[in-house]
């Protein structure tokens, strides 16, 4: 590479880090139908938003509003009907599974195991995309996996069997595996689903810290309005396949809007942290 072009590249990188948009969802739509001849069963209307490194984006909405579909589109598992999703300038759906796994980590609702595995074996799976197809883990892989476990506060779980740890511990190990992928983008689909309140707060707190430390861009689908308000930088509010509004929690958490979306009487007030707080209003 010549000096001039490397200088140009450095300038480009400097420019990017200043105004960097890591994830760019551009006018993305999708339609799902069981039978191509019939009208689609579900459609996602054109949705756009952007996220920077270190940002947490929460996708909120009632059931069947298209949250998980949007997440699958971002992960590249589904191809959008129109529009495109860029991760550092690359279309996520066009990447090979290997390259995609090096850049995007997905934490799903349930992770089932057919045969018993220890936590460290599970976390090492995250290194799969970084090696050749037939390989043995290197020293580096082991160090990265250990760090990942330590980062989620699960270093002591390393030698435990995955089917013998609690739901909260399991979720942390699953998160550690995602970190071992060393991704740019971390996607989570209802990660707090089966967790008690302490484990929920703990998980989101960990996510907040990781996003800041490792400059991950985090997109999380959740039903937990208050946790999203507390931890998200941006909220994407969805309803029946439509993205209603995008913005910081304070601009989204308005009583009329949330009542209309969730079809239930709610109260929205300001919490002690300065973030909005939602509570259910018992009907008189």
């Amino acid at each position: 590479m010549s000096a001039a072009s490397s200088h140009a590249q450095r300038l480009a990188e400097a420019g990017r880090s200043a105004y960097e948009v890591r994830l760019s969802v551009e006018q993305v739509s999708y339609a799902y139908s069981a039978n191509p001849a019939q009208a689609p069963l579900f459609t996602l209307e054109a949705t756009s938003f952007q996220a920077k490194p270190g940002e947490i984006v929460a996708i909120l909405g009632p059931n069947a509003s298209g949250k998980s579909t949007l997440l699958k589109l971002i992960s590249g598992a589904l191809a959008p009907l129109s529009g495109r999703i860029l991760l550092n300038g690359f279309v996520t759906h066009s990447l090979t599974p290997r390259t995609r796994a090096q850049r995007i980590a997905v934490v799903q609702q349930e992770s089932t195991l057919l045969f018993p595995a220890r936590a460290w074996e599970f976390v090492l799976q995250g290194r799969h995309a970084h090696g050749r197809s037939l390989r043995f883990e290197t020293e580096d892989d082991v160090i990265i996996a250990k760090n990942a476990l330590a980062q989620v506060g699960a270093a002591d779980l390393s030698d435990r069997w995955m089917d013998q740890i609690s739901g909260g511990e399991k979720q942390r190990v699953i998160l550690a595996r995602a970190l071992a992928q060393q991704p740019l983008l971390l996607l989570l689909d209802e990660p707090t689903l089966h967790l008690d309140i302490a484990a929920q707060v703990d998980l989101l707190h960990t996510l907040r810290r990781l996003a800041a430390e490792n400059r991950y861009t985090v997109v999380v689908v959740t039903h937990e309005l208050n946790l999203a308000a507390e931890y998200a930088d941006q909220v994407v509010l969805m309803q029946r396949g439509r993205c209603l509004r995008i913005g910081p929690p304070a601009s989204i958490y308005q009583r009329e809007l949330l009542e209309q979306v969730f079809q239930t009487p709610l109260t929205v007030e300001l919490g002690p942290s300065g973030r909005p707080r939602v509570s259910v209003q018992s009907e008189k």
């Binding site: 598992a77 057919l114 995309a129 197809s133 043995f136 082991v142």
Partner: protein
């Protein structure tokens, strides 16, 4: 953390190789005609030194022309079935998958029989004609696993119980067709009944052993290239994809190679059941469920199991013989029930 190293893998395989060696010696020694270990050792030494003429003639024929080819066949068939079973378990995400239980062996058997029926009506070189049965068996195996896979899918997901039921039904349906063919056709096809239960006593041409051996190595190597992908595939296809596995490619490679292994094994030995089920489970208990270890250890374990079972089949009712498939079924069926109950619990 103790990730797998090449050294540990070699050590594990070496131990199993030693056990296989011992089992082979036992299989050479025991039978309707007993042979002393001393005579065996002397013969082997002479054989290795290239002095075949020194091999004593009184029992030499029995040991080297009857028992040894049969043991060799047992090794290849056992290794093939165990690797195929391991692969089907990962591919279908079902710990109870096995070529026999899924009806794939029956499909391969039907394929072989159809090839036998068609063979006299074709004019082709004898060398090619000898390959007709294995090819028929492969096609039968591939078609059956495709059908069972299709039957086992509900709403786009593989459903374990539906899959097993689909396999059992397919197996009985194919067996009925086989019975029908056997009863309508006269002559030597009736002798197939014994072969169908799993039998290693068929004498084969030397070229067939080469064909089997190379076929096994190619198919097993193809599956082994996907070993770490299979580890992730066990967690589900979506999850494997998110971790960087090219799922359609892995599925295709394993599907073709495992069908080939089943087809090869069945075309020479009939349907020896449960080897593909029990052996991977035992190896998982001993060495863990990492496919990089599991595939080679299962191959060796399968060879040990079949050679040992065949030795029992030859000796327990000597001078008569049992079908080796009967021995593996006596051990395998109760174990299958145990695994099924434990899974449902």
């Amino acid at each position: 953390m103790r990730p797998l190293t090449l050294r540990r893998l070699f050590l594990q395989c070496f131990i199993l190789l030693l056990i296989l060696f011992v089992v082979v010696i036992i299989a050479l020694k025991f039978g309707a005609v007993p042979v002393s270990l001393y005579a065996l050792g002397r013969d082997m030494l002479n054989f290795i030194l290239g002095q075949s003429s020194q091999v004593s003639s009184d029992y030499g024929f029995i040991v080297w022309n009857i028992r040894w080819p049969r043991i060799l066949l047992g090794i290849i068939v056992g290794a093939s079935l165990a690797v195929a079973g391991t692969s089907f378990q990962a591919l279908l995400r079902n710990p109870l998958a096995d070529p026999y239980v899924l009806g794939v062996s029956s499909g391969a058997a039907l394929g072989s029989i159809l090839a036998l029926i068609v063979e006299p009506h074709l004019t082709m070189a004898p060398a090619l004609a000898a390959l007709l049965t294995p090819v028929g068996a492969f096609l039968g195996a591939a078609a059956t696993i495709a059908a069972v896979y299709f039957l086992g899918r509900r709403e786009g997901q593989i459903d374990s119980n539906t899959l097993l039921l689909g396999g059992v039904i397919t197996a009985s349906f194919l067996s009925a067709i086989i019975m029908f063919l056997m009863s309508t056709l006269s002559g030597n096809l009736r002798g197939l009944a014994y072969w169908l239960m799993g039998d290693l006593s068929t004498s084969l041409q030397k070229s067939v052993y080469w064909f089997l051996g190379i076929g096994f190595l190619v198919a097993a190597a193809a599956i082994y290239t996907t070993a770490s992908d299979l580890n992730l595939l066990l967690a589900g296809e979506k999850e494997a994809m998110h971790l960087g596995v090219d799922v359609p490619r892995v599925r295709l490679v394993v599907y073709i190679a495992a069908s080939l292994l089943t087809g090869l094994a069945v075309s020479v030995s009939g349907a020896i059941g449960y080897v593909g089920l029990i052996v991977p489970h035992v190896m998982r208990l001993i060495f863990g469920s990492d496919h990089r270890t599991l595939l080679p250890t299962a191959a060796l374990g399968g060879a040990i199991a079949v050679v040992f079972a065949d030795t029992l089949a030859r000796t327990v009712v000597a001078p008569n013989e049992l079908a080796v498939g009967a021995v593996t079924a006596v051990v395998g069926a109760p174990l299958f029930i145990y695994l099924l109950r434990r899974r449902l619990a």
